[in-house]
């Protein structure tokens, strides 16, 4: 007795569109079961989980959490569309935050309207430069970019840790491992400071999503990305270079991720700390796939995943549950999204221990001989 995935002859357009929503419902149902097993009223717990949507200041928090997720995921979608696997956004995020902070940390008295644009550009350069290491290793030594980009995350985490405990530590900070607070010229302005603390990093995310949508849909470069992802041999026939594409995808993704990093440091934290990301770089992978690698879909997906963070905090404060609940929900969401997508393209066939069951076979199947 075994399970076999059989390719469907054609995929249903209806279910392709519905798939993310089905995944939400399944995640909510599984979450309810989990709450019930933990001994909580599942309806009340789920209500608490989505309670952040009911208050304006909480919506600001939602935008703060969604901004980095969307920025990173938009970049990652380029990589994944090209069939290139950048798993190291977390590291590029940290290095973007570090490089963007060089000027406010080393020249804390520099006050100018030029400071913020300079920080943003340096953050992007930092993220892109750090993201250029895996493609360099891949093209030069044929290493696997999944492994190298992931390993570089841990290097980045330790570089940040060393900086804030060592050379960049605030001399007047009572020995806490953090830099001095940035001056006002180094802090991203709020969108609407009267109602909450969301900053214009969220605007960056929306603009990046729209620009990337246009690039992928209408421009030759986006065409190149799609060709290389779908059929590298046809891409070579077209005259596209696989090596250059690996660099392009990683560096675009790294630049957007670096921008997310410095926006978070400048707009939300206002200084460097040992930890500046609650795993945005990894969660953004879920965002990218939940958004079907479409930049506009990623905006919606980013807001949903931001809610899992806030909901996790809400059940922690209101019900005393572990904050790991957020991770559980993210994991379930990714599981159900990938599951729904797989079942749109394939159906499951049970194969008995003996020969295949005769006669009563459903219509569509893969040709066995192929």
């Amino acid at each position: 007795m075994r399970l076999e995935l059989v390719k469907r002859p054609q995929r249903s357009m209806l279910f392709s569109a519905l798939s993310p929503f089905i995944a939400f419902v399944l995640t909510a149902a599984a979450g309810a079961i989990m709450f019930a097993l933990l001994g909580y009223n599942p309806v009340k717990a789920l209500g608490t989980y989505i309670s952040p949507l009911t208050e304006v200041w909480q919506l600001h928090e939602l935008a703060i959490k969604a901004a980095p997720l969307i920025l990173i995921a938009v970049g990652l979608s380029v990589c994944y569309r090209a069939n290139i696997w950048n798993i190291g956004a977390e590291g590029q995020f940290i290095i973007g935050g570090v490089v963007g902070s060089i000027v406010p940390v080393l020249y804390p008295t520099y006050e100018s309207w030029l400071l913020l644009p300079l920080m943003m550009v340096m953050g992007m350069i930092g993220g892109a430069a750090y993201a250029s290491i895996p493609p360099l290793l891949k093209v030069r030594f044929n290493t696997n970019e999944i492994l190298t980009s992931l390993m570089l995350v841990y290097i980045a985490e330790n570089v940040l840790d060393w900086l804030v405990r060592g050379p960049w530590r605030d001399p007047n900070g009572y020995n806490f491992p953090q830099t001095a607070q940035f001056n006002d010229y180094a802090i991203l302005p709020a969108i609407a400071s009267s109602s909450g603390r969301a900053h214009i990093g969220f605007i960056f995310a929306l603009v990046a999503a729209v620009l990337m949508w246009f690039l992928m849909k209408r421009m030759l470069k986006g065409f190149e990305v799609r060709v290389m992802g779908a059929s590298p041999r046809a891409g070579r026939f077209a005259g596209f270079s696989h090596g250059k594409m690996v660099f392009f995808a990683f560096m675009v993704s790294g630049a957007l991720t670096g921008l997310a990093g410095i926006s978070e440091v400048s707009g939300t934290i206002n200084q460097l700390q040992p930890v500046i990301s609650p795993g945005y770089g990894f969660t953004a992978i879920i965002v990218a796939f939940l958004g079907r690698l479409n930049p506009l879909g990623i905006v919606a997906a980013g807001l949903v995943l931001a809610l899992t963070y806030l909901g996790g905090e809400a059940v922690q404060t209101a019900l005393g549950l572990s904050d790991k609940v957020a991770r559980v929900f993210q994991g379930m969401l990714l599981f159900f999204v990938l599951g729904c997508d797989t079942l749109i393209h394939y159906r499951i066939r049970l194969i008995g221990a003996k020969a295949e069951p005769a006669a009563a076979q459903p219509a569509a199947r893969l040709e066995e001989a192929h």
Binding site: R226, R233, F237, A358, A359, A364, R365, E368, A369, H370
Partner: protein
């Protein structure tokens, strides 16, 4: 159940009544009637998209019919899977092989058998079958080292080991040399002599006339006639298939001879093997002049693919002077730069090389022409003018009579012949100065093939240089002004059409030194 049906004697092995299959709007098969008697070779003829593959897939259990009845030895059956088809006694040899190159022939056969037979027994049985049917094969040989003809033998032996009563062969000779095809025909005769039935799908009308007892002709999903092919001419069969007269390919000898401008010059082209199963190129030299068609013959796997990659610029050369296009050294420049000099390329594989299967036709037009037609297709900053590309795509579709089911379908949704017409038309639409085509009509039916060949000749007569790499000798003799032969990574000097004979070219394909047959000839004369 299976044994019951086997015990009842019945003259008609397979009887099909009103078999219908619908894909969306398209009736791929429309009330097909077909009977196959015991011990006959039955030909299934039809153009691309006529419904041959759909019909055969229903018989082999890969597709389920929407309506109609299949009777096997007089009893209605429902063939729900290829496994069930095999159990009934229906075997199939596909046009595209499904073999693992890194495994031996016997191991590949073992993979397709359900039972856990020891590999030694399989090799033994394979040896017996290969001896009994005149299909020489070493079961211990690595598939990667075998020629296409030998690989086909593995598929046939694999099929015969399941002791089928009906064998379906899909375009079996499209990859064989004339000598290999003759051997296959002997095998088929022997199978018929044993009372086995064969459903033979082919577009080569001469071999259908020579071998088949009866023929069923399909057109647009319908049966347009049953006939005895021996009583027909190739022209009358083609007329039944296409519905109108098939265009006769016309070729006049080019004028001007060696004074015409050389467009492609290859000098001492050498290439190291790129992988464990690829062939090195050794000192190839060839000149293709404006106005002429040069054919490159050769058995599959003698370096044609590697040669195409080198000339197209997908693989660069060590020395810039190895390949010259219109007087410019291009050995170190890539495919886009060669296209900008006026060259156009059509690779052997349509899906995944010449076209991206999951992309639309208009995207696939852009694939090879975004550089050469940048002015028309791209606006400022690299924005694609999708309307202009779609219009060009429509122009190609009309010029080449590409049949499709939607306005702008994915490449994978087209039949092989129609996609090939589109890919060739995509390049012709540019009016290239140099056209290099690998296997222009592989698996393409008579009507489409004639159209493609005529288009290539017309392009040459309009002043372009055309280089055609093909394993189909009939095709090369039909369109070429001179024929060179590839063997083991080397290339013979081109034989002018007036001097080239099947015998001479066949000897070169087998690896005779150029000039060798001159001696043989001189000796005989």
């Amino acid at each position: 159940m299976v044994d019951d049906t086997r015990s009842i004697p019945h003259a008609d092995l397979l009887e099909v009544r009103g078999l219908t299959k619908v894909f969306g709007q398209l009736k791929a098969c429309d009330r097909i009637d077909l009977t196959i008697a015991k011990g006959e070779i039955h030909a299934l003829l039809g153009e691309n998209g006529a419904g041959k593959s759909t019909l055969v897939k229903m018989l082999f259990g890969s597709l389920e019919p929407a309506a109609g009845e299949i009777r096997w030895k007089g009893k209605p059956v429902r063939i729900a899977s290829p496994g069930e088809a095999r159990r009934l006694g229906i075997g199939m040899v596909f046009q595209h092989f499904s073999l693992f190159e890194a495994l031996t022939a016997a191991e590949n056969i073992a993979l397709s058998l359900d039972r856990d037979t020891p590999i030694g027994d399989i090799a033994q049985r394979a040896r017996q079958v290969s001896a009994a049917y005149g299909l020489p094969l070493d079961p211990g040989a690595l598939v990667g080292d075998l020629s296409v003809g030998e690989r086909q033998r593995i598929e046939i032996i694999r099929c015969l080991l399941q002791e089928p009563e009906l064998i379906i062969l899909d375009e079996p000779t499209s990859v064989l040399t004339p000598q290999e095809a003759d051997k296959l025909f002997e095998t088929l005769e022997r199978l018929r002599g044993e009372g086995k039935s064969i459903l033979y799908i082919s577009h080569r009308l001469e071999e259908v006339k020579r071998m088949c007892d009866r023929a069923t002709v399909l057109r647009h999903g319908k049966v347009v006639g049953h006939c005895d092919p021996r009583g027909e001419t190739a022209a009358s069969l083609a007329r039944m298939m296409v519905g109108t007269e098939v265009l006769q390919v016309v070729r006049q000898a080019p004028e001007g001879g060696a004074t015409r401008e050389p467009v492609l010059e290859i000098r001492g082209l050498t290439r190291r093997p790129a992988g464990p199963f690829s062939v090195p190129l050794r000192g190839i030299s060839l000149t293709v002049r404006a106005g002429e068609v040069i054919g490159v013959a050769g058995v599959a796997g003698n370096g044609q693919g590697e040669f195409f990659e080198a000339v197209s610029g997908e693989a660069l050369q060590d020395d810039a002077g190895m390949v010259r296009i219109r007087g410019k050294d291009v050995g170190r420049t890539g495919i886009s730069a060669r296209r900008l000099l006026g060259a156009a390329f059509v690779p052997e594989e349509r899906l995944g090389h010449g076209a991206v299967p999951t992309m639309t036709l208009s995207d696939n037009l852009l694939l090879s022409r975004y550089r050469t037609d940048a002015k028309a297709f791209l606006a400022a900053a690299g924005v694609v003018r999708s309307g202009v590309v779609a219009a060009a795509s429509k122009r190609v579709v009309e010029a080449m009579d590409v049949r499709k089911s939607a306005e702008n379908p994915e490449a994978a949704a087209l039949s092989g012949g129609n996609l090939q017409k589109f890919i060739i038309g995509r390049e012709l639409d540019r009016q290239p100065a140099l056209m290099i085509v690998n296997q222009p009509t592989w698996g393409v039916d008579a009507g489409a093939a004639a159209r493609i060949r005529q288009a290539l000749i017309d392009l040459a007569r309009a002043g372009s240089a055309v280089l055609v790499i093909s394993q189909d000798l009939d095709e090369l003799f039909e369109i070429s002004d001179a024929i060179a032969v590839m063997h083991d990574g080397t290339m013979s000097p081109p034989l002018p059409r007036a001097e080239a004979t099947y015998e001479k070219v066949g000897l070169l394909m087998g690896g005779a030194e150029p000039g060798h047959f001159e001696h043989a000839h001189a000796g005989a004369a």
